[in-house]
């Protein structure tokens, strides 16, 4: 049996097709459920190894991106999701899904750190490719220090922390930073355009200490072949294999479990 991904759907989710395709390429089977069905039957979460929240504009981003979905998750799904996590399952959110994970407090799970995702420094929606430096905390998914190229496409991707750089240090100490925006040479940066949002600490993605709750702003599910790359595989943006490798890495633990 293939690893089972349960993919959330609700009003305004719009990156569901490509996320599903990416998981299927990586060897998983994907079931899509509307949040209303899940609220009626949260136990459905017990039938998956990986719970995924795609990108989009849930509820129009009204009251802040991911805010209302975050409230719904916290109120109706958090118990089952915590159980999924406790028994070794994973939770993954991309873009709006990441925003919802942060706003439902499923991430970053570091004591005392007050975090939010807010408007890009430019106060504009930005669609451009980013390079993401893999931090040690994500070493079980991709090689540490390697670069995952992926398009950013968001308006509210700037991570802000109540205690600024002190909180960055806390996140770092807790191994909660998964991915950082970086330049072509691999140096992390918060500066536009390499970092589209001005995110503090160049943070592009966060991960739980367990390594199994992961969220990121850019879209690796839009980098599944060399044709997707801005330079179409000439080399400046990798080979076009990095996105698939990322999803294989997410699915890998359950491939092993299921086949053994």
């Amino acid at each position: 049996m293939k690893p089972r991904v349960l993919q959330l759907f609700t009003s305004g989710i719009n990156c569901d097709r490509e996320l599903r395709y990416a998981f299927e390429l990586a060897g998983a089977s994907v079931k899509v459920m509307h949040i209303r069905e899940l609220i009626e039957n949260p136990a459905a979460i017990r039938d998956c190894e990986l719970f995924a929240i795609p990108g989009g504009f849930t509820y129009g981003d009204d009251l802040g991106a991911g805010r209302i979905l975050g409230l719904e998750i916290a109120r109706f799904l958090a118990t089952e999701l915590e159980e999924l996590h406790a028994r070794g399952g994973s939770i993954f959110g991309v873009c709006n899904g990441f925003q919802a994970l942060v706003k439902s407090a499923l991430l970053p799970r570091v004591e005392g750190v007050k975090i939010s995702l807010t408007w890009n420094f430019s106060h504009r929606f930005e669609c451009r490719w980013s390079r993401l430096l893999v931090a040690p905390a994500l070493g079980h998914v991709l090689p540490v220090g390697s670069i995952l190229p992926a398009p950013s496409a968001h308006a509210e991707g700037q991570i802000v922390l109540a205690d600024g750089q002190h909180d960055v240090a806390r996140l770092e100490a807790a191994n909660a930073i998964a991915l950082r925006y970086c330049r072509a040479d691999g140096t992390p940066t918060s500066e536009w355009p390499d970092c589209p949002s001005g995110s503090i600490g160049a943070i592009a993605g966060l991960i739980s200490p367990s390594g199994r709750i992961l969220g990121l702003m850019p879209h690796p599910e839009r980098n599944l072949s060399a044709l997707h790359l801005p330079d179409r595989g000439a080399g400046a943006w990798g080979t076009g294999q990095e996105g698939v490798a990322f999803f294989r890495g997410l699915v890998a633990p359950y491939l092993a479990n299921v086949t053994s």
Partner: protein
């Protein structure tokens, strides 16, 4: 009077930079109100005054305010804010949709916070000035600079601000409009008073009909006829008879032609003559459909939304894209939208406020608004906006154009639809409000100075998430076979949707069943409202329960409005009373079509006098910064052009994403190799001189965009969008006839059928009694099938040592070109494509691309060869080009300046792999082409004429010249 509501304003913490505040300061300064300090912008919420402070504080901390970076200012009901005179509050007028308020109310339920019975919430924006400010000036200037007076109202922070009162239900009775005994003047007066936009002949035809019926019409019967017969819905001008005369330079008639139905005998004729088997649906549905594979079709439609965008650029363009997406959803039994296009035509950037015609917005503000509207609607829908352009021309200052296109994917078995008698008429999606009343008739009238104040109801406010839900549910319902027909509510609202679906059947509708945004609408308003995000479907009664369950899970409201019949009549009831009972025949066939006169003046035939001595080092950067040539990357970066993961050739290309592409290539299905290439062509400057040539060039440009990217010219469909002035005036109509003839001739020559189209007439503006038309504007959109997306090429240069080849002949004709505009040249002959060789050139280039000879390819359009070469350098990773103009295919009499900047159609600059030149040559044989240079390392663009160097500029210089925003 004090405010009766709680005011909550959430501002960024004072230590954080507020970009919206900075933008507000700039907007006020541009309107003549400089400030000596900054502004803090707040997200405002008006909450019912009966709430306790503790409740308000809980709402703020748990829901409204960001937990990290916002602070809340709370003003209690009845309290007067100290320093309130330094704050400007802008909120929507009563009845204007407020989706965020709606979301807030729903989120409160999640938190178990109950609002008082019947109470609601509203949102607004606050602008708090930190320094000294003259309150009266802030209110006066700010209302326009920071708000849109058509749909928003402004207050000072020390003024009373209460929630809008709740509307009261109206129990109107049937109202008749006596007209059987009226003379022509009195009939016309009724048309004007009711904003029907019906002509005297049309009013007389209606009078005849009701005299024969022996009764007076009701208001809703007149409104229905006005909608159905509107130019917007009926296209009377293009489908009516016309007597055409061509004048020569001395004003003598040199040719005369008659058409009974201009569109049928030109655009449709071409399609009919070609009628390829890969066209599955043409000109009969909401969009045309062509085959991508044997099983999957591509639905294509491009719409205009000009007049609403002039009044409210943001709402107008957003609902423009929303409307064309619904066209795709309403094609066949529903297509799935996978790509959008947008083209904007606005006035010049450097226009002074004082020179603006009264009642119009500055072109830059219009452009920012329309870009933001497409961005916010398209991005929320999750449909990539992948192609388009921005045209600047003084003729659009008072009447901007907004074109929005959508492409959808549809299985072949869903292409046909037919409602059956007994099927239920079901509306689903958004609710009906007063928004967009008279949009169809409004768009058929010229704009005028008072448009801003009196046509507010014609403005439509979008709610993309509601439309996204409709999209999601519709495709599931389609796949479960739950309906027999579906269409969108566009112009004319229910009246058009039900009227068109029931044209062959008849329909009965109970208007009181329509769900309303607020009470108080009369039955005729419900019937013609153009409220957004609504679809109408025909449902077999046995499928209703399943559809209801599906909609309930997806949070989509569904309502049974009535039934389709077999009596051929339209019957409307209002709480049981019949308010409309007319035969469908009269509605759809009764409009009189008078013969119109069309007169075209002669196009200039004199040769273009290019300047002899030009400093290209100075000129090329200026041309790269010309509004028609300058990079539009700033627009594209705001659009999510990669969502759905199928954008495999992007609008801006290359390592740094700075190289403008020709056609974008999108894969609607990630698991298939096929895709579509999308291109646009538009030449209003040329059309002012020679509408025939300009139209042929626009078609050529759209096709060469897609072919340059790798699209198959033999599987290319095109779409026309005519935006013209008032075609009741013979000179306006004259240029339109020539354009329609060019459409016919080019489509037949290229073998590219028109599959869909739309016209928008009366793009005129009355000011001080003078009537001004926009430039004649034909947008051609081309969609080509790509058999294998791996076999597509971009524009950035790829490899040093490769050959550079110019394909196509360059002529001296420079009329209407960017360079002619720049040099202010006297009007001269406009270039035109050679219909004999152009299709062979496209075919040979396509073969070269699919056979792997081509590393990069860029079509030559605005700014000619010089601009194309510069853009290929700009997009590359540090490569340059060395080109010898003496070698390009052209007669010896064509000067170097013309060779560089002329805009002759059907030309390309092609990078051919070093070892493939011979193969390439074998494909082109006797067609016009020449190897003119090489790709070189170092990022330098070097142009010479034989041995004479003309220009040497580096990539960074070219890029910065090209990168002027707006």
């Amino acid at each position: 009077m004090n405010s009766t509501a709680w005011r909550v304003e959430l501002e960024l913490e004072s230590s954080r930079f507020d970009p919206l505040g900075a933008a507000a300061v700039a907007a006020l300064a541009a309107r003549g109100l400089p400030l000596n300090d900054t502004i803090r912008v707040g997200r405002g919420f008006l909450l019912p005054g009966s709430l306790e402070r503790a409740q308000v504080e809980v709402m703020v901390s748990t829901l409204l305010a960001d937990p990290v970076n916002e602070t809340a200012r709370i003003v209690a009901p009845g309290a007067v804010e100290a320093d309130g005179g330094k704050s400007l509050l802008i909120r929507r007028m009563a009845g204007v949709s407020d989706p965020e308020a709606h979301s807030t109310a729903r989120a409160l339920q999640l938190l178990n916070i109950a609002l008082p019975e019947g109470a609601h919430i509203e949102t607004y924006r606050s602008y708090r000035c930190l320094g000294a400010i003259d309150s009266a000036l802030l209110l006066e200037v700010g209302a326009r600079a920071l708000g849109n007076p058509t749909i928003e109202e402004a207050f000072l922070g020390n003024q009373a601000l209460g929630l809008h009162p709740t509307a009261v239900p109206r129990t109107t009775k049937r109202r008749d409009i006596p007209l059987r005994n009226l003379d022509v003047e009195a009939l016309s007066a009724i048309s004007r008073a009711m904003s029907l936009a019906l002509s005297a002949e049309e009013m007389l035809a209606i009078q005849d009909f009701f005299v024969a019926q022996g009764r007076e019409p009701s208001d809703v019967e007149l409104e229905t006829l006005a909608q159905t017969w509107s130019e917007h819905c009926k296209h009377k001008t293009l489908t009516g008879p016309v007597a055409f005369e061509q004048l020569d330079g001395d004003g003598v008639v040199v040719a005369a032609r008659q058409y009974q139905n201009l569109l049928k005998e030109t655009v449709f004729y071409a399609t009919q003559k070609l009628s390829p088997d890969w066209c599955w649906s043409v000109f009969k549905d909401n969009a045309g459909v062509i085959a991508m594979t044997d099983e999957i079709g591509i639905a294509i439609k491009v719409e205009t939304h000009n007049h609403p965008s002039a009044l409210d650029p943001y709402g107008g363009s957003g609902t423009g894209i929303g409307g064309v997406i619904r066209d795709i959803l309403g094609t066949g039994l529903g297509a799935r939208p996978f790509a959008s296009t947008d083209v904007f035509c606005v006035g010049l950037a450097d226009m002074k406020d004082a020179d603006l015609p009264p009642g119009t917005m500055h072109p830059n503000r219009i452009l920012e608004g329309v870009v933001a509207g497409v961005r916010d609607y398209g991005n929320r829908m999750g449909i990539p906006t992948v192609a388009g352009t921005v045209i600047r021309h003084p003729g659009y200052v008072a009447n901007p154009l907004v074109f929005a296109g959508s492409l959808g994917e549809i299985p072949r078995k869903y292409v046909e639809k037919a409602a059956r008698p007994g099927d239920l008429i079901v509306a689903f999606g958004g609710r009906t409000g007063r928004d967009g009343i008279h949009g169809a008739t409004f768009s058929s009238e010229a704009l005028h100075e008072d448009s801003e104040s009196i046509d507010a109801a014609a403005v439509q406010i979008g709610d993309p998430i509601t439309e996204k839900k409709v999209l999601d549910v519709l495709l599931v319902a389609r796949d479960r076979d739950l309906f027999t027909a579906v269409t969108d509510c566009g112009a004319g609202g229910f009246s058009s949707a039900v009227g068109e679906m029931g044209e062959e059947l008849g329909a009965e509708v109970d208007l009181e069943s329509a769900p309303l945004k607020y009470a108080g609408l009369s039955y005729w308003e419900i019937w013609i409202s153009e409220a957004q995000e609504r679809m109408v479907a025909a449902i077999p009664p046995s499928k209703l329960v399943e559809l209801q369950q599906l909609c309930s899970t997806a949070d989509v409201e569904l309502t049974v409005l009535g039934t389709f019949a077999n009596h051929g009549r339209l019957i409307l009831r209002w709480f049981g009373e019949v308010v409309c009972d007319m035969p469908m025949d009269f509605m759809h066939g009764g409009v009189p079509q008078p013969c119109r006169s069309a007169i075209a003046s002669a196009a200039p035939q004199n040769a273009t006098q290019w300047p002899l001595l030009v400093d290209h080092t100075l000129l090329l950067p200026r041309i790269l910064g010309h509004p028609s040539v300058a990079s539009k990357e700033w627009v594209v970066r705001q659009y999510d052009h990669e969502v759905q993961g199928g954008t495999v050739l992007k609008p801006y290309q290359g390592e740094h994403g700075h190289g403008p592409g020709d056609g974008s290539v999108v894969k609607p299905r990630l698991d298939l190799p096929q895709g579509v290439a999308i291109g646009c062509g538009i030449y209003p400057r040329m059309a002012e001189l020679d509408p025939y040539a300009a139209t042929a060039n626009a078609i050529d440009e759209a096709i060469r965009n897609t072919v340059a990217a790798g699209g198959n010219p033999h599987r290319t469909a095109i779409i026309d969008n005519f935006c013209w002035g008032d075609c009741r005036k013979p000179d306006r109509f004259g240029s339109m006839v020539l354009a329609a003839e060019a459409c016919r001739d080019a489509a037949i020559a290229y073998g590219t059928p028109f599959v869909s189209g739309k016209d928008s007439l009366n793009n005129e503006y009355r000011v001080h009694g003078e009537e001004k038309s926009i430039p004649p504007t034909l947008l051609c959109t081309a969609v080509s099938i790509v058999e294998d997306c791996e076999r597509t090429v971009g524009t950035p240069l790829q490899k040093a040592g490769n050959h550079l080849v110019v394909v196509g002949i360059t002529t001296n004709d420079g009329g209407g070109s960017v360079a002619a505009d720049m040099f202010a040249l006297e009007d001269s002959r406009v270039p035109r494509p050679c219909f004999e060789t152009a299709p062979s050139v496209f075919a040979a280039l396509h073969a070269a691309i699919t056979q792997g000879c081509v590393a990069a390819c860029h079509d030559l359009s605005e700014g000619g060869l010089a601009v194309a070469a510069a853009e290929m350098v700009i997009g590359s990773s540090g490569l340059g080009a060395n080109i010898d103009l003496a070698r390009i295919p052209a007669s010896d009499t064509v000067s170097a300046v013309a060779r560089l900047y002329a805009e002759t159609p059907t030309r390309f600059l092609v990078e051919v792999h070093a070892e493939q030149l011979e193969h390439f040559s074998g494909l082109f044989r006797t067609l016009p082409w020449a190897a003119v240079g090489v790709v070189q390392v170092g990022g330098q663009l070097e142009l010479r004429n034989g041995t004479t160097p003309l220009l040497s500029l580096d990539s960074a210089t070219l890029r910065s010249a090209n990168c002027v925003q707006a």
